[in-house]
Amino acid sequence: MQSTQHHISIYPRGMKMRVTLTLVMVALFYFFSLHKTESDFIEFFSNLDVVFMKLLSMFPPNWDYIPHAIGPLIETIQIAIVATTFSVIICIPLSLLSANTIVKNQYVYYFFRNLLNLMRTIPDILLATLFVSLFGVGILPGILALTVFSLGILAKLLSETIETIDPRQLEAIQSTGGNLLQVIWYGVVPQVLPQFISYGLYVFELNVRASLVLGFVGAGGIGSIIDTQLNFLQYKNVMAILILLLAAVIFIETVSNFLRRRVV
């Protein structure tokens, strides 16, 4: 067999260049970041024993502390449920308004799009700090911070799902003379409901985890007692709280995986 080509490469030449260039840039910026953050992996590995010692010093967990943590844990879960519920409800109109399959007006679409981006942008700790200063300490600022934060994520996910739905199914409903609400109810909802539920559960898990941070700035929940125990250097108590939290998160994740499988 005789080739007429002089050189047949596996990749077209241009692509090879682009890939190499990208990789080099990624690596360069990486090393630049390592330099800027004064990363020193030799130091890290030579101090690995300290990491393990510290982890070990958290064991055995002080099981006697668990009863003190149950109350805050329950509070955390309740906060997360309430915040998730609020954001699930509010996100429905928001995500419809920021999906270009539903909203044809470009200005409206971009306004809500950017609003969502804005909400997702602000770190939860900043939100919590702000709400604490507005509403005082307690669980309300916590609920609000979580609501706003998860609302941004949830509405973004949902609106992206709505944008990927099959527009032909909507067209069919339109062609029967259905109005906007009917098109949404008969065409959009069945297509996005499973993802919607699964996102809701995902955000709930996220909220349970996030409430840890909230406690550090006076917005209630289990983070608050972790903060205190850390300040007293009571690592065995901290570990007990963490194990409780871990158990709760795994439980929630298992249940929500189960529910997710059922609906999707």
Partner: protein, 255 residues
């Protein structure tokens, strides 16, 4: 009666979908539109129920110029005109029944339809229509569990449930294999004959067009280049419409 009076349509990107189309379709006719890909068949059909809006001319459906319609009026037009799509466009995750009954949306109040409060009559009608296309046994199945031909039959049932005066079908058999294609066309023909519903169908396959149409309209580049009874049509006619010899894939093949 549907009347196109000098209708043109230019898409926002400048493509001319229809060019000065003049044609009248009478009640109860079974018209098949043929033409190459891009000829404007879909544009023609979708103008009738205003899924696209002609940019020039007048288009009368039942004596009413539909080009200006908006909002409620437009929805009223659409309840009169049923549409069948190439890809069936069923809501995959909903049941066959829910898909079929959605044909009645235009006749039902928003609240009632959202709460699933259809009258007994409506539900019986939907079921009746599923029976007419022999698909009643799947009534509670999810739509995406059916084969292509079955799905298309559900979409016919949906349109029938709408009780339309006109049925538009945009390449209803393009995704189906030959035997199923014929089956679907037969159901369409049967309904056209039994209920006297004006039926306009886009087809790619000339043998099917000749077999089922009363009247054939040929399009090329947004213009009507042939219009006449199916009996007058020969292979030559198609070669004119297509501007090239007929090939094997222009035929669906027999049943």
């Amino acid at each position: 009666m549907i009347t196109f009076k000098d209708v043109s349509l230019v898409y926002p990107n400048g493509t001319q979908g229809l060019k000065h189309v003049n044609v009248t379709i009478d009640e109860g006719e079974f018209v098949v539109i043929v033409g190459l890909s891009g000829a404007g068949k879909s544009t023609f059909i979708r103008s009738i129920n205003r899924m696209v809006t002609p940019t020039y001319g007048e288009l009368y459906v039942d004596g009413e110029n539909v080009i200006q319609l908006q909002g409620k009026e437009l929805r009223k037009l659409r309840t009169k005109v049923g549409m069948i799509f190439q890809n069936y466009n069923l809501v995959n995750r909903s049941s066959v029944m829910k898909n079929t009954i959605s044909g009645r949306l235009g006749h039902t109040g928003t609240l009632r339809s959202i709460l699933n409060l259809y009258s007994k009559k409506d539900r019986a009608l939907a079921y009746e229509n599923l029976k007419r296309v022999n698909i009643e046994e799947y009534v509670y199945q999810r739509a995406d569990q059916l084969s292509g031909g079955q799905q298309q039959r559900v979409s016919i049932a949906r349109v029938l449930t709408q009780e339309p005066k006109i049925i538009l079908a945009d390449e209803p058999v393009a995704s189906l294999d030959p035997p199923t294609s014929h089956q679907v066309m037969k159901y369409l023909k049967k309904i056209n004959q039994e209920d006297h519903i004006t039926t306009i169908v886009n087809l790619h396959f000339i043998d099917m067009a000749m077999e089922y149409a009363d009247r054939i309209i040929g399009m090329r580049d947004g213009e009507i280049v042939f219009d006449g009874p199916a009996s007058e049509v020969t292979e030559k006619t198609f070669e004119e419409i297509y501007n090239r010899p007929i090939r094997e894939h222009d035929l669906r093949g027999s049943e």
